[in-house]
């Protein structure tokens, strides 16, 4: 139901609706300007910020990659020295994993999930604001390090003993460890927020078996975050303590164990891959459904595959450690699990192909990116199956073959769907469509550039070129393929640039998108583009898996939610039957202050363990102020304020 249509209704209805809209706008207001930045709790504002900030880090990580490619373009180049090069690949990897991929995927969820399930905000709006600021603090810390020549240089997985106090003096690794803490706090907060919102705030009728596939993907991802990220928070804390107060977790001479680090890190690190990849699968499903105007083939196997991936993803971590001399029996268990993950991934690919089969899809930019995803991701999946086997892994461990593999999986599996997803949803976020011409151009540049960059790396790896070397000798014969890869990186960079230009240009010159430019099925397309601060004039109800396609003419709408305070409908977990009404808080500065306190605590603690004690004070003050009722929510009072 578009806004225009609603306003065509008879005079009386129009007046009542306009009045309701005014009330909702007053209640769900978003402060503007700097104040808005610091206090807003709207999931759309924060979601957009997440996406925008993550894209800035994507650009920074990309520039680092280009610098590395320039250095490697020919043998014995002298553009970047070994020390700088170490910082560049470490910050590149850390940026792409912690500051780009995870935040942008969860940011898309922050923006889209409440719209897709038909509610007005996330369950915990202040926690959402807090999570964003903690994430920003982590990013600033990492780049403050890089720009002062204190960039972490022990690789994005910071193996001990290299990252330990004996071999990495100075503060470089500490900056890495605290950046991890910041970004993980942020992701954990978003994950709990998304789980609660998806479980408790779905539109009436959206039972669990009618939840859109994108929302399922966000739900599975959030659960993975909850159980994976504590591992890295704990081990990065242990590493920081080993460095700061001489604990011995990873020091073998005092009973510690260096391999313990690898276990703890990869117990997080492998699920991390799926945390990045699963939301992208949700985007693919949304785009395919809209492009073919068909229901995605096999809803149940699709959902089961997501859930299965979520579980199996926790049983793979040791395949990163095959070269450490683990017992063979253990290694073969992890080989089996690694190969097993191909089953749910394959199931999904076949379901999408079945959806596309015989349909007449519209080959718009989003679908092009999805098709590119199929091609690139399947290649990455195949090399993944190869690497899952111990003998092959031992041969190519720490070579460019591995670099090629994980870029095929991560860029293919996450960045291609993401660029498709952004092309798909930006019209909803901004209200304007992107240019198809520039969109196609960007796709082909990215697609060609990507393959020219990373395909030769398979060969380089097989020829024995190790990863993380700042240069190589001419006699190795690696020069030509490296030059080719660097040319490819230039084309890839150009493709991303065209994408950005297209997005920026659409803000001014883009054609108006209207409510539903793609004829898509999920609820976000039933409200205006961009959506109002309260999302829906009246909350929708749902009669099928594809909410807008299965909507009946007499589909009821929710009435009776108060519009003079921020009321949200709470529904029950399985069947989404209306249960009660909850009241949400409005804009507030305290999440920002708390994030500052947390940032102060952990940055101080890089230098002095008393940072934890000193920092606790501002954090406690901010939490008390956050919690203390201000009476602005108009709740029932049991005991009045005493003076």
């Amino acid at each position: 139901m578009s806004v225009a249509e609603v306003e065509d209704v008879g005079y009386a209805g129009e007046n009542a609706d306009a009045e309701e809209r005014r009330r909702l706008e007053r209640t769900w207001w978003s402060p503007k300007g700097l104040r808005g930045w610091l206090t807003d709790v709207d999931h759309k504002a924060i979601g957009k910020r997440y996406v925008g900030t993550a894209l800035v880090f994507f650009a920074l990580g990309g520039i680092e990659a280009l610098l590395m490619r320039l250095q490697l373009a020919r043998p014995e180049a002298r553009l970047i020295g070994p020390d700088r090069y170490d910082q560049l690949f470490t910050v590149h990897g850390s940026t792409m994993m912690f500051l780009f991929a995870v935040p942008i995927m969860l940011g898309m969820g922050t923006y889209l999930v409440p719209l897709m399930i038909g509610t007005r905000n996330l369950a915990f709006p202040r926690l959402n604001a807090f999570s964003y600021w903690v994430y920003v603090a982590g990013g600033l810390l990492l780049y403050a390090g890089l720009f002062t020549n204190t960039g972490p240089d022990a690789g994005w997985f910071a193996y001990v003993p290299l990252s330990g106090p004996a071999f990495s003096p100075g503060k470089r690794v500490d900056i890495w460890a605290q950046m991890i803490t910041f970004t993980e706090i942020s992701s954990l907060a978003v994950a709990v927020n998304l789980i609660t919102t998806i479980f408790k705030h779905r539109a009436p009728g959206m039972s669990l078996n009618r939840v859109p596939l994108f929302v399922w993907s966000q739900l599975v991802t959030s659960f993975m975050v909850v159980f994976a990220m504590p591992a890295v928070m704990l081990c990065s804390l242990m590493l920081a303590l080993d460095r700061l107060v001489d604990t011995h977790f990873f020091n073998p001479s005092e009973g510690g164990d260096a391999l313990l680090w690898q276990h703890l890190f990869w117990f997080f690190g492998h699920p991390e891959v799926y945390i990045i990849f699963i939301p992208a699968l949700g985007m693919v499903s949304s785009i395919i459904a809209a492009s073919t105007r068909r229901e995605v083939f096999g809803y149940l196997p699709m959902v089961m595959s997501l859930v299965a991936t979520g579980f199996i993803g926790f049983g793979l971590w040791v395949h990163h450690m095959f070269a450490t001399g683990l017992p063979q029996l253990g290694a073969s268990f992890f080989t089996a699990a690694s190969l097993m993950i191909a089953i749910p991934s394959g199931t999904q690919i076949f379901c999408w192909l079945a959806t596309l089969w015989g349909s007449r899809p519209r080959f718009t930019t989003p679908l092009l990116y999805v098709l590119g995803f199929f091609f690139v991701f399947v290649i990455g999946g195949l090399t993944g199956v190869m690497l899952g086997s111990v003998p092959l892994d031992l041969q190519v461990h720490d070579t460019f073959f591995v670099v090629a593999h994980f870029h095929y999986v991560l860029i293919g599996g996450a960045v291609f769907p993401l660029l498709g997803g952004l092309s798909f949803w930006l019209p909803k976020m901004t209200g304007r469509r992107l240019s198809e011409r520039l969109g196609r151009l960007s796709f082909w540049l990215v697609f060609v550039g990507f393959n020219v960059t990373f395909f030769p790396m398979h060969q380089l790896g097989l020829q024995g070129m190790p990863r993380r070397v700042y240069t190589y000798l001419p006699e190795t014969g690696w020069g030509d393929l490296n030059l080719l890869a660097t040319i490819g990186a230039g084309i890839l960079g150009l493709g991303v640039l065209v994408f950005v230009v297209n997005a920026l240009q659409s803000l001014r010159h883009g054609e108006m998108a209207g409510d539903d430019p793609w004829g898509a099925d999920t609820l976000e397309w039933s409200t205006s583009s961009p959506p109002p601060s309260y999302n829906f004039l009246r909350l929708p109800t749902v009669a099928g898996r594809y909410a807008l396609w299965s909507r009946r003419d007499d589909q009821p709408e929710v009435t009776g939610l108060r519009s003079d305070r921020r009321e949200m409908l709470v529904t029950n977990l399985l069947d989404a039957e209306p249960d009660h009404r909850d009241v949400l808080p409005g804009p507030t500065i305290w999440p920002f202050i708390l994030a500052c306190g947390v940032a102060m605590t952990f940055i101080y603690a890089i230098f002095n363990p008393w940072g934890f004690v000193v920092g606790a004070v501002p954090c406690a003050v901010a939490l008390i102020a956050w919690f203390w009722p201000r009476g602005d929510m108009d709740r029932d009072v049991i005991m009045e304020k005493r003076s």
């Binding site: 609603v6 990220m229 009821p556 009435t559 249960d579």
Partner: protein, 207 residues
């Protein structure tokens, strides 16, 4: 499309504005925190056994049991605090502000007593976090858990202040019940660590 105004409506104005247990969104938030921290504690337990399994000597020379009596006494104090916290939750269910205040105060006293005994135990340990890996893992577990107890105590004090000063809203009753639920988790976590640390056969031998 003229029928919009007369569209069937799903009127929710009669629904309550507070709900308890898994019906409440906040229950899921607190459960999420418990899942996160429970995972963290579980990984810490795994770390302990990983290091223990690889160790030549466990515990290392010079480590003495801080005393089965005092550590068990402290566990008992902690377990006892569950009772008043449960009574707080029950009183909150009845909106009985007097009862809430009383039992909050009793549980807070027990928490402070626990912290005092814990301080005594920690200062009496024969090893530090930088003595060896055994020391590191025991101290980090104790420090993380103490942080939780401190936070729990702080929350109780905050609730007490709110209950004395007001305004107390209906939603605070849900908050109080969830505060109790979280406390049970904090207590339970230490039961696990108590068994692992203080009933460790290796450590019991050097009592």
């Amino acid at each position: 499309m003229s029928a919009i105004a007369e569209k069937p409506a799903l009127d929710v104005s009669g629904l309550p504005t507070v709900a308890d247990g898994p019906r409440a969104p906040l229950w899921w938030g607190v459960t999420g925190i418990m899942a996160i921290e429970g995972t963290m504690f579980a990984i810490l337990v795994a770390t302990y056994f990983y290091l223990r399994g690889a160790a030549v000597e466990w515990p290392p020379t010079g480590v003495r049991h801080p005393g089965l009596g005092i550590t068990t006494l402290n566990l008992a104090i902690l377990l006892a605090s569950i009772v008043p916290m449960y009574l707080v939750a029950r009183a909150a269910g009845r909106q009985d502000l007097k009862g809430i205040r009383l039992w909050l105060l009793v549980s807070t006293v027990l928490m402070v007593a626990f912290l005092a005994v814990r301080g005594f135990i920690l200062t009496g340990l024969t090893f530090r976090w930088d003595s060896h890996a055994y020391g590191s893992v025991v101290w980090i577990a104790a420090a993380l858990h103490t942080t939780h107890v401190l936070t729990g105590t702080g929350e109780n004090l905050l609730f007490l202040a709110l209950l004395l000063k007001g305004p107390v809203e209906d939603k605070h009753m849900v908050d109080l019940r969830l505060n109790s639920m979280y406390w049970y988790f904090v207590v339970l976590a230490w039961v696990v660590f108590y068994c692992i640390f203080f009933l460790d056969p290796g450590l019991l031998q050097v009592r």
